[in-house]
């Protein structure tokens, strides 16, 4: 004989499962739709999708998105290296000297930078970099991306470093390590998984950023460019432009580009899971 309590319990579990499915349904739907459409494009275009140039609006060939891929890679690398370096140093600084006025300032700056809309950042960089340089460039794009990624990366690293229990720092001091030694040989190694995750997540953020590049990168997709001072393109920009266009061939390219981006994100996700052995406290 089922008691009312048992029925309530089962009902509750059903509701939870339903709501959970409802929550992940959009993502699953997204992945499925993008994969189906995108993979079809890969198949149709072959490897030239990654090496070729984008098609003209009325062409029959899919072509490729090489300039966008190179542009994204270039800007990601530049931006990521600057961001990670600055963010890690800032995080170390504020963790080691929390009451210092510089640390307080950094915290405040990070919070305020994070609240600037990305499109506004794009316009600021336009004024500060594009205009003096008299043209769009991958560099300008990287600067914009860095400004956006910095507070995010700093906050994440800061949280990671702060979550290392203080007892290990004291242990480091007790074996006569200098302050710097304690950071390099104890704090960072213990937090390494968190730091690696932070790097990858920052990279994912940078790769998918669109608004920041609107007035900075240049959308130059006629040829592959490795130069930071020349205008460049990025995959999200391409998707943005092509989806809004009336041309069907460009829509197809956009699907392919979206699928490529999604693939990259999935790869990062798995990398995060597998990379770097976790330090068990």
């Amino acid at each position: 004989m089922y008691s009312w309590r048992k029925i309530r319990e089962k009902l509750f579990i059903c509701i939870i499962i339903l709501l959970s499915l409802l929550a992940i349904a959009p993502i699953i739907h997204l992945v499925i739709v993008v994969s189906i459409n995108g993979i079809a494009i890969f198949v149709k275009a072959g490897t030239s999708f990654f090496t070729g140039l984008p098609p003209t609006p009325l062409s029959e060939e899919i072509g490729g998105i090489a300039p966008s891929i190179i542009g994204t890679l270039l800007m990601t690398m530049i931006s990521l290296s600057i961001t990670i370096t600055l963010a890690v140093f800032a995080a170390i600084l504020t963790t080691e000297f929390p009451k210092n006025s510089i640390s307080v300032a950094i915290d405040a700056i990070a919070k305020s930078l994070a609240s600037i809309p990305t499109i506004a950042v794009s316009m600021i960089v336009y004024t500060l970099v594009v205009v003096p340089m008299k043209g769009f460039s991958a560099l300008a794009g990287s600067v914009a991306l860095t400004i956006i990624a910095l507070p995010y990366a700093y906050t994440y690293f800061s949280m990671v470093l702060r979550s290392v229990p203080a007892i290990y720092r004291e242990a480091a001091f007790s074996v006569a390590m200098s302050r710097w030694s304690a950071v390099i040989r104890v704090l960072i190694p213990i937090a390494r998984k968190g730091i690696a995750v932070g790097v990858l997540m920052t990279m994912a953020r940078i790769m998918g950023e669109t608004a920041a590049l609107l007035f900075t990168a240049g959308r130059f997709r006629n040829k592959v460019s490795f130069s930071p001072t020349e205008p460049a393109d990025a995959i999200p920009l391409l998707i943005f432009d092509y989806i809004l266009s009336p041309y069907d061939i460009w829509h197809q390219v956009a699907w392919g580009a979206t699928a490529l981006l999604l693939l990259a994100y999935i790869a990062i996700f798995f990398a995060v899971k597998l990379i770097v052995k976790e330090v068990k406290l």
């Binding site: 007892i167 006569a176 068990k280």
Partner: protein, 249 residues
């Protein structure tokens, strides 16, 4: 000369005074136990000795402290700590290093060894002194999280010993471990007397009775009574000490 000599030491944390006119002397190669109820300032006293008090926000130290002949407040704390080992209340072996590396890093940093062979010898010696060698000799490449709490604490002791310190500070080292391991640790501590001077903090009068040569009773930041262990455990002269021995505090 004394291993540790404190004269009229006062420690303030913000507005609060944690230690009041503390005066004590620790002889070389003895086990000196600081006993007292919770909140009496025992841990603070210990942390003043190796300047770990510096890491506490708003801490101010006034008074004369000489450790191993150095004037502690006017000496480079990082240099000072090369001669002082410490074991904390909560076992804190480095989780990212193997058992071997945990002990080795202490020896390497302090330039105690010149080559790999000497390093192996020191690691073994330290683990033997901490009475842990037999339990880990086949597992030196494993990580501390695979050890029990008591084993971890002995690993911390081995790490502290690998520095070949002259002074060993122990902050309630058996507070968080089981009784069997606690006894092992106590036996290890007593056997170390020949090589180091030990200053240990405990709130258990029985533990103090088991290991101490000299005892100082700390109450509300003041040294209420000080003397040889025998004298204190048989004929304490203050009421506070007697209450502490009875476990009423």
């Amino acid at each position: 000369m004394f291993a540790v000599e404190m004269n009229n030491v006062n420690v303030y944390l913000g507005d609060r005074q944690i230690l009041k006119e503390v005066t004590l002397k620790v002889h070389y190669n003895t086990v000196f136990v600081i006993m007292g109820p919770s909140g009496s300032g025992k841990t603070t006293l210990l942390r003043v000795i190796n300047r770990l008090i510096d890491t506490t926000e708003g801490a101010r130290v006034v008074g004369s402290i000489r450790v191993l002949g150095f004037d502690v407040m006017n000496y480079d704390p990082y240099e000072l700590r090369k001669h002082i080992g410490m074991v904390f209340q909560v076992p804190n072996p480095f989780p990212h290093l193997t058992i071997y590396e945990n002990v080795a890093i202490a020896a390497k940093i302090n330039g105690v060894v010149k080559n790999k062979k000497e390093l192996n010898d020191v690691v073994r010696w330290a683990l033997e002194k901490a009475m842990l060698w037999d339990e880990v000799k086949d597992r030196l490449h494993e990580y501390p999280h695979q050890l029990s709490g008591g084993q971890r604490q002995r690993l911390c002791l081995a790490r502290a010993l690998a520095m070949k310190p002259k002074l060993l500070l122990l902050d309630e080292p058996t507070a968080n471990i089981d009784p069997v391991n606690a006894r092992k640790l106590e036996n290890a501590i007593v056997s170390l007397k020949d090589e180091v001077t030990v200053v240990m903090v405990t709130h258990s009068p029985y533990q103090a009775a088991r290991v101490a040569d000299y005892v100082a009773v700390l109450y509300d930041g003041m040294v209420v009574e000080q003397g040889s262990a025998q004298q204190l455990f048989l004929r304490p002269s203050t009421d506070i000490a007697q209450k502490l021995l009875r476990g009423e505090m």
